[in-house]
Point group: D2
Chain length 226, copies 4
């Protein structure tokens, strides 16, 4: 199991909750089958089970949006690695800019996810954070300058240096960790720019979730990988 080059974060968008989450995940399955490119989808906690059942074994990996540094037992409202596995997910985003974690919790949850066989993608805001995230040796670090998220101004064109420096920073501390980049990614040329800067893929959200035609949007993104 490896990090897919296109990962879609459904966030809390109403457009991707409940039945709409399942529908969007099935679009990803169609695109993955047509193109042979693996896609990751990150539905809300409450939709993990439904989405995992809907896409099972079809070239689409299901990732949680977050996992808490909580163990099984007397804890309330937390999502443990075990729950994510039971729901059928393959991995998780961690430390997204909209859900930052304490360094110590991030370390604990990375370790717990690895023990459960879950893929881990740790988000970071810049090269310095990417270096620290990489030092935890997750499967991937996703660099996303928060100020570009949701803007449609792609990080890979607006701030190519942060991508290059993050790739370099992660390589220094963890050879086997992939690097994704995100924030403002909306079309194939953004993806192409990201890959040319050394990243292994992209993390997208509104560019696909809010697209009039998500399938077309996904196909466009994937065209940038060729």
């Amino acid at each position: 199991m490896r990090i897919p080059p296109i990962v879609i974060n459904f966030k809390t968008y109403s457009e991707a909750v409940g039945d709409r989450a399942v529908r969007l995940a099935k679009v990803a399955v169609e695109v993955a089958e047509e193109t042979g490119v693996e896609i990751g989808v990150c539905p809300a906690h409450t939709d993990l089970y439904r989405v995992a059942r809907a896409v099972d074994g079809d070239g689409v990996l299901v990732l949680a949006q977050a996992v808490d540094a909580a163990e099984p037992g007397s804890r309330t409202g937390h999502v443990t690695p075990e729950m994510v596995v039971e729901a059928g997910a393959d991995g998780t985003l961690l430390n997204h800019s909209e859900r930052r974690m304490r360094l110590d919790d991030l370390k604990d949850v990375c370790r717990a996810c690895m023990n459960e066989g879950l893929l881990t993608i740790v988000c970071a805001s810049d090269a310095m954070a990417a270096r620290a995230a990489g030092a935890l040796q997750p499967h991937a670090v996703a660099v996303e300058p928060p100020e570009l998220i949701g803007t449609g101004t792609p990080v890979s064109k607006a701030d190519p240096e942060v991508v290059e420096r993050s790739v370099e920073a992660v390589r220094e501390v963890s050879e086997d960790t992939a690097v994704l980049c995100g924030a403002g990614i909306t079309d194939g040329s953004d993806v192409r720019a990201a890959v040319e800067l050394g990243s292994d893929g992209v993390l997208v959200a509104s560019g696909v979730v809010l697209a009039e035609d998500p399938k077309e949007a996904l196909l466009d993104l994937i065209s940038g990988l060729e």
Copy 2:
């Protein structure tokens, strides 16, 4: 829809995750049908959908363990009131001692849950906290001294004053808010003591979730309501 007199918090116990969550919820359905007493079950976020489908319309209310003060949109890893509704839940616990909220977030999420028609049970550690929680006018306040949680020493016997003073404190600020009590509740006599102190029901967790025979444990608890 009113607050059930018995609410079971599944917490993050492995004994109540995934298939085991569904199984435990079905035990609650059996007991509710046999006794005519309504029961609330609080599975993990990842099990809300499955549990809600399994118990639909059978005398069992499904409550989330927590909801975040997050709106639909560009937020990651959060559970919104909308998600909980889409998953089929009827309400939510809030501010559990294992998931305390900022006062302002608690206020926002209470208001958002009311707008979505969700039942809200706000937890509080003592009478002073219960007064503040009650001032938000949720459907119920659940008083749980954290030091008794999971001990098997029932709050209704070990600290009857905290229950009495909490009932009084909540009444002062919100006439229509029910009061539950919890922490260490394990059998019918604990429930009877709770009701005699003025509370409208109990919040239980390990007493049912970890019981050798959860059905028997539930029937025993309910015997204290008569």
Copy 3:
């Protein structure tokens, strides 16, 4: 000791740190002496001792900007009620919108501050939060809609209803708690409007701290109390 009708939050403004904090506090002393109106000043933790020594007994009360829900002992980086007392302060702001507290911590720290004889001013964003804050029976609740903070658009004119409803909400749950209002307060007419709406005073920050002539700004504010 009662809540002063004018309370100045120095925030983290460079203009009010270190020697500049002491200087600004001395301006408050001058104005308090000239007008006979008591003024509260809220310097940073690191300046509490210096400011308290500089203004001692001169019609100016010194309040911390926050106190942590931490007891003496094995805690690091926290400011306890005891520390604030030792530094010479008379009270503290709590739960400012830039430093929101968990309801339970807020309850604990209110109680601890009362035990130490410290004045407590609990901030709240709207009438619903003010009701919950008031239920803790602090010396004052300060209503500040976060969206107006630092704008120069005074809450007492832009949103008079939030002030009126907050005064009413606090009265319902705690007769002896004063109500301040804040956000965008910059001149005497803003203060007059605030008092006419039923509040007992104002909480200001940039209006004084960043004023070209803080003394003049303070005198102008106080003119609104007459």
Copy 4:
């Protein structure tokens, strides 16, 4: 300016607040003068100014217990790097187990402290966290297994491997970062063991703060450096 081999965290102990903080810092000055060994003292925020004035230039460095990831401006209750400098401090502890920080905030505050010329000592609970902390290239990483803090069971004897592995982990990612170890350190033999495992010094708290004779305790600790 370099990291002192003995750093004393005053925590929130009543024994080291206000006048007692100044007194304890002066004991450190005496010991530093008698032995020629530099000592770091970490008083509470409210005592930084007093302690810094009392020990100025006498072989004792003054460090804050924490600094917040907050910039000058409209923030309340936070301690900025600028405030710590204005109070006369030389550096700060960061991310203590009793005050964990989000990875992103830790990164921001490390960078801000470096820009202000402040020494940074980032705490970590184990080798994996030490690797991530080291990746931020602070002046020092202090490894403290939380379960040993305050026990009197020294990390350097109870868990020598965590010290060795942390030293190695930090070296891998940051050559110029020193490594301290802490938790349970009370006498010279604990310090000697720590140094033999490759650490550059120790972080102590109760061993000195609560000692009947702090001067004797400090002299004993320093004997382990020889």
